[in-house]
Symmetry: D2
Subunit: 506 residues, 4 copies
């Protein structure tokens, strides 16, 4: 069994999130953090006793911020808040995203700015470790704290909502029963502490970054295979060239590509080879490097989100005070995630353009559309498929963070549409796996036809991985849609990348 990840609100990395959200690594809460929770919980009551108005504790929320909430009302108030804020619209988020969201909310709660009841933090941890996953609709949040989505987590904590437990959709209380644990009652400030956070979209963002990481590595390898399919020029990958450009991520990408191509026949002299290839081949390190830099911009700011307080009001424990604020605005990292979607467009364009070249005898010296013989049609109409998917990506690249309304009596007049940004990114990435799948079919077919000698260590392994699921296209007697699906699954599952990385080590 995996050793547990101990969290404290301060050091959660994206890789930690991945281990918990995707690999179900168990989670523990640092002892000092539990102490802080206890102390900050006390502070809430002290402040309230002193008559300090506290939003979501002794005062209403949103437009109702001017209404008193008395202690008799508090349980019903919190329960009502979960019901009335549960206004999400489907579909439900994937479990990985939900786990990431739960972990992030739990981690930032530990900073002691919420005043959450400690037992709620513990239940949250237990739900993670026992794999009780609330069903949370993806849509409905405007991305200025995901109160819409996290209310479904709140309902689950109360035992009310639905959860996915061991593959079934059941009531939270039934899952708790099965595990022998108890739901909690939300009291002073608890409701707000659970829902007033960007943890849901931050969890989605983490998933997007994990997928992007896989996508980019996959794209690097396929670009190398296409270069072999083209019999292109490797001079543009030379280390000296990239050192002169001084972009780290570009330099790294080129180094990786040289690794994949190590031992390839492309490094042998060849008389017919042109001095330069089309830019979609020549600029791969520059473009993939640029996208990685865009990813870094997003990731570094998302990491701060996952290790800081976005709570309002925010307890200032050191000052023994509480303060209204705007820390729930997540624009800083949402801009990064939105920009990533735009950046990914360029991965798509390069892939499409490389694929077009592979079908073109003027660039490859091979047969038109990579047909095995004169009478076969082969990869002709398949160009429409990637062009159409790319057109959708292009549309999804348009920004949405400013498509907002002024809500709640004009109090909540800005927002970011964070979850919509993540939905767009995910769709872009999914389409891209199809597009890369089609490029892979071309690259593999060109490599088969060329049969030019040794492939690179990585590209050779990629070729073999492809051939395990899709045969050489030798005649038009099969439906190409099915080949596309097989290649897509190979890539999106990560099996392709794994095969190539294993190949490098052989």
């Amino acid at each position: 069994m995996q050793n547990a990840l101990t969290i404290s609100g301060n050091n959660l990395t994206l890789d930690d999130i991945y281990q918990v959200s995707h690999k179900h690594r168990p989670v523990e809460i640092e002892e000092k953090s539990m102490e802080l929770l206890v102390n900050t919980r006390k502070l809430v009551f002290e402040l309230s006793d002193r008559g300090v108005p506290i939003y979501g504790c002794n005062r209403g929320v949103g437009w109702n911020k001017d209404k008193n909430v008395t202690s008799e009302m508090i349980i019903r108030f919190n329960s009502n808040m979960m019901h009335s804020h549960a206004v999400g619209v489907g579909p439900y988020a994937p479990q990985e995203d939900v786990r990431a969201a739960m972990l992030i909310r739990l981690n930032t709660v530990l900073l002691g700015c919420t005043g959450l009841s400690p037992e709620i933090a513990v239940l949250l941890k237990e739900m993670l470790n026992r794999e009780i996953h609330p069903l949370i609709p993806e849509r409905g949040s405007v991305g200025e704290a995901d109160i819409v989505n996290l209310s479904f987590l709140g309902l689950a904590l109360m035992g009310e909502g639905l959860v996915n437990y061991r593959g079934k959709e059941i009531k939270a209380k039934d899952a708790f029963k099965a595990e022998g644990i108890e739901p909690v009652t939300l009291r002073e400030k608890d409701g707000l502490a659970v829902i007033s956070s960007n943890a849901f979209s931050a969890g989605q963002a983490a998933s997007v970054l994990f997928e992007t990481e896989l996508l980019l590595k996959t794209a690097d390898i396929i670009a190398c295979m296409s270069l072999e399919g083209l019999s292109g020029n490797v001079s543009s990958l030379r280390e000296g060239v990239h050192n002169k450009r001084r972009y780290n991520r570009q330099t790294e990408t080129a180094a990786d590509m040289r690794k994949y191509l190590k031992g390839s026949y492309l490094y042998e002299p060849c008389s017919g080879r042109p001095l330069q290839d089309p830019l979609s081949y020549r600029c791969v390190p520059q473009v993939h490097g640029a996208v990685r830099t865009a990813m870094d911009y997003a990731a570094s700011n998302l990491t701060i989100q996952c290790n800081s307080s976005d709570d309002n009001p925010c307890l200032l424990y050191e000052e023994g005070d509480i303060a209204s604020n705007g820390n729930f605005d997540p624009l800083c990292w949402v801009l990064g995630m939105q920009n990533l979607g735009i950046a990914l467009c360029h991965i798509s364009r390069l892939s499409c353009l490389r694929t077009i070249k592979l079908a073109s005898p003027g660039f490859t010296g091979l047969s038109r559309h990579l047909t095995p013989d004169e009478g076969t049609i082969a990869f002709s109409t398949i160009q429409k498929s990637f062009a159409n998917l790319d057109a959708e990506i292009r549309m999804l690249a348009n920004p949405v963070t400013m498509n907002t309304y002024s809500l709640s009596g004009d109090m909540e007049d800005i927002s970011t549409n964070a979850p919509l940004v993540m939905q767009k990114d995910k769709k872009i990435i999914d389409n891209l796996f199809y597009i890369l799948a089609i490029e892979l079919l071309h690259a593999g077919q060109a490599m088969s036809l060329r049969n030019a000698g040794n492939c690179g260590k990585g590209t050779g392994a990629g070729y073999k991985a492809l051939r395990r699921v899709v045969d050489f296209y030798d005649s038009d007697n099969r439906i190409l849609s099915i080949d596309i699906d097989k290649a897509y699954t190979l890539l999106k599952s990560g099996d392709f990348l794994k095969s190539v990385l294993n190949g490098l080590e052989d």
Copy 2:
């Protein structure tokens, strides 16, 4: 049983399509049209015998247009064409869209420009009438003839592909067997005749227009209910006002609204009522009328598509000739359908803005967020739901017809992304039904709270229809997400509209 619709290529209306695609009205082919098919089929062979080069008959297609296809090759060539062109990407299109596509393709074939084997037209008709529906992936076409999607129809005609038959996904040949009919063999020019058409996206477009029609009527009624909820001013609906503006569709909309409001307390004098309401209330006939005009622009040009030839090459029977051409370019009506999506954005904005007003005491004189009492939160966070859905609509309004690549050796250098346009429109409409559902919840709640006297004949019926599925919101003890879903289903199913229209007749 319904009487059959007889088609000839010339007079198919959108309503006819609706009867066949949604209501499964049987189809017959006009006798003269069958004769024309026989004669034009002959013409193909005469021309080919004379040595006239015919794309897709004795010459290849696409970039392979310079390659000969001999009569020995012809069966394999056509079969290959279906396989290699079947490069769609899921999900599968709804059966209504598939039926509409089949009907449209069948209808335009009857114009005698394809030279299709008459028995294939007959099989197509039989499949419609016997409800054998090919599974056709929605994505993959660039919208310059939907060869990608219609190949799946071609496969089904050959008995190969998958179909939905009586609710099950089975092989076409098994469905044929069950019905005692035979698949066909595609021969000279048949493959191209089946697939080189925009019938697939035209079928989708027809479905979009049917949904738009329902949506607009629903939106008219809900706007009237909101006006009652607001206790707004009906003077802006006066006939004289709209006659001065001279836009027919605006005039009609206002007339319908007056019908829905007939008998409403809004026509009784009321001292507190302001001279003018916010524009989202006052400009409903103008905006809904403008969207209807946008719909007319789309519909009239789509109707031409459904009754004209988009075939290349195109037989010119009267001239005894065949000609290469660009008639497969569907831009004229695709622009209309794209513009419709933009227009629908405005329906969304008005609905969102009206709903915001209903939650605002400054405009309604009712309680904040339409709460039944002080301690209830009610329609506070629900504003996020429609704002988020509207943000997605705003994104989907960005145009895509120009997001294209130059394909097939730069021969197919333009396209329209027609199916993507329709997918966007459908998503916009679906989101809009949610947004209107939320407005309806507000309007109904305001009407309940106001309890001001008689409702209009239509609005009263609408109110009752709502209350049959969603109760008055009297406390925060239920999850609002569920209310939203119920109201959405009420609207999207058409039951709401039906109830209101029935109410008018009482």
Copy 3:
């Protein structure tokens, strides 16, 4: 001297507007219309005397609609309204647009819905006929009545604002003095009658349509010249082909193109000619026809705007009443103008793609980049110029009608951004004249190089018109930027079209 155009509010055509705005045709007001003005003016006072609240007359405007305006205040109120509403942001609109706006406002005033003082209508007419043109900033209006811009017309009518008079920017009162006429005083409802109208953006829209008309004809001819440059196939222009497609505007476009190409060597047999050309050549009638249909959609709805009342409140003379309303919402025709910009994108794409083909020996059989000899670079980098201009056009095609705020205390919660739509359209058109200019340089160069025999009657005239300003490119000793500018000016001025039309008649 031209005979005057007599207007009555009912029959103004776009061509009439062109005659007045661009050709300075004098304007007269129909006698019956003057009578109606007198009578409706009386009605205003009768209603006011009866105590009917009238927005902008005895009540304030906008958010101030609840404030009384007494008759003592009325002159100052109207003067104040002009000052405080004059919040435009530069640059100033071209005089043609201003003239069109003045004419449209004058025409619709004649419908008798404003109650404007008759002498103001007369002064407006005089200003048109005496060419006294107010300086009106283009920006600042949200396109829900152009009160921002028309206030500058109001200031001029009062003698206050600046006007362009005989080429100089002077005070309105000085221009009036020079012409021996008097400014007016704005009284009851006059201010609102002058400014509460979409006439300004309607005037801009009319100018856009005039430019579009020129652009499309120019594009038709240049496409024909490119077809000659390519030595392409005219079969796709055959009448029979277009009759089968049944889109009128497509059919017309093809007929015009056949006229331009009449007598061309393209109609002579030629062994090397491929069966089909790239779609950017083959689909010209389809795409240009589609854009014309988009133009018709815009134009027909704009024409209604120019002959109907967009006034609020609106006098209902027949009913002896006045009514609040939302007739100032111009969405119906603004959607059309916005869609036109999107449609024009496709003109751009076709031109760019045709030009790329002309530089490509694989399509033309001519030299690469149409160089006159081996040592010359010629039309290589010039591809960047049109690609960049097209990228800007693509951006400008994104819709803006929904980019709005809720203003004036949430009363004016929707708008259309009409003037921004027109600014975008104008920029798209201007860029397009550059793009077509570059295509023309290519087409002419290819025709020179090919020297294939007789050109068409129209294309030959076009070739000569080009050569009058730009010589054959025989060496790299001149700056291509200058050639581009010359060709652009030739096209945009209309001289090119005129030369070709004259050529047809020879």
Copy 4:
């Protein structure tokens, strides 16, 4: 006189660029860099003598890369390259941008990757120091090396092109004559070395960043003034709050705002003040901080561009070799600059929304539209002005980096539209200065009306700066357009910021 900036290709900062581009600081070239230039120049000839094919030296460029260029042809080849690549489209770039471009190109040349003749580097330096500025059209480049624009620099270096010299547009050779210096002759590889660089758009980008810096500081101050106008809550600016959020740029912004507000009456207790202000007030540090982080992302990658080689081919001096590559792809920093435009949208939204609140008695407790008395209209229609300018900004935020064509025989199949991105950013910023100007008018008016006691040290200085150019709005007897222009000029010139910073030090 300023001391010179010594450059070497390695350490140029954005601030250095500002000093040279805007403040005309003289430039010197480090001695070692001159040596490197001499040595790398030699290397070019050695390689060429050895028969190594070198693009732009002994081989053609672009699609002509397969053509030989002999030494007899070399002078004409380079001259031709400048002429045929000079295909820009106006308007001309501002001189600051041109100076920045010249400096950046000069700096990166010093890295020794171009092989440029040393005397050309010297002439470039002289032109900078003697203020001889080539006229360079802004449009026409696709942003994959700005060959289109930099050709105009090349023409000037040859003495041919036009320059701006001491305020006049004259021939370069005349300016050289006046300064007693000589033009150069472009020889082997020189032409390419001058033009194959992104220096032009990098220069524009530098200018954009300088303007952004000014804009953001200005926006911070005005937001503070609006907070005073609103009599809002400063608790959201507390240091403790921002420390919990851990975004550096947010923390800094809040600190600056506290500085501007130091001593303000907002820090005094006030009974009526709400617990929380609308988000457009409360989230200023979060949003302005996020935009600054977006700026950092752009600036850091732009700085690498200014200190690295984007040359192709690239001399690898250490290896004694030359290599083809794709280093001219600038996507990494262009994405950053594009994202900055999107980020700036949010500055605009906040400003618009704050301004709307200032006109609203419900938020300010002041008069509607900040009228000085009942009879005045004041800031009513002015809301349209900023709404319209913001709508344009929203449109300009749509990305363009992927709106590209495949050019030069499909060799140059990707690009970035870098200069278009910068043009968009500039327009966004310019519009924003207008929008902030309108907010300033409101904030100042509200401060005047409130007259609540001491202003903050910075906000008080801002108020005084405003009042030096625009008086209190006491009646509708002036045209508001003029006030807008005055405030805009105050802000854009930097005078406003200067006054406030001076005020802080008093």
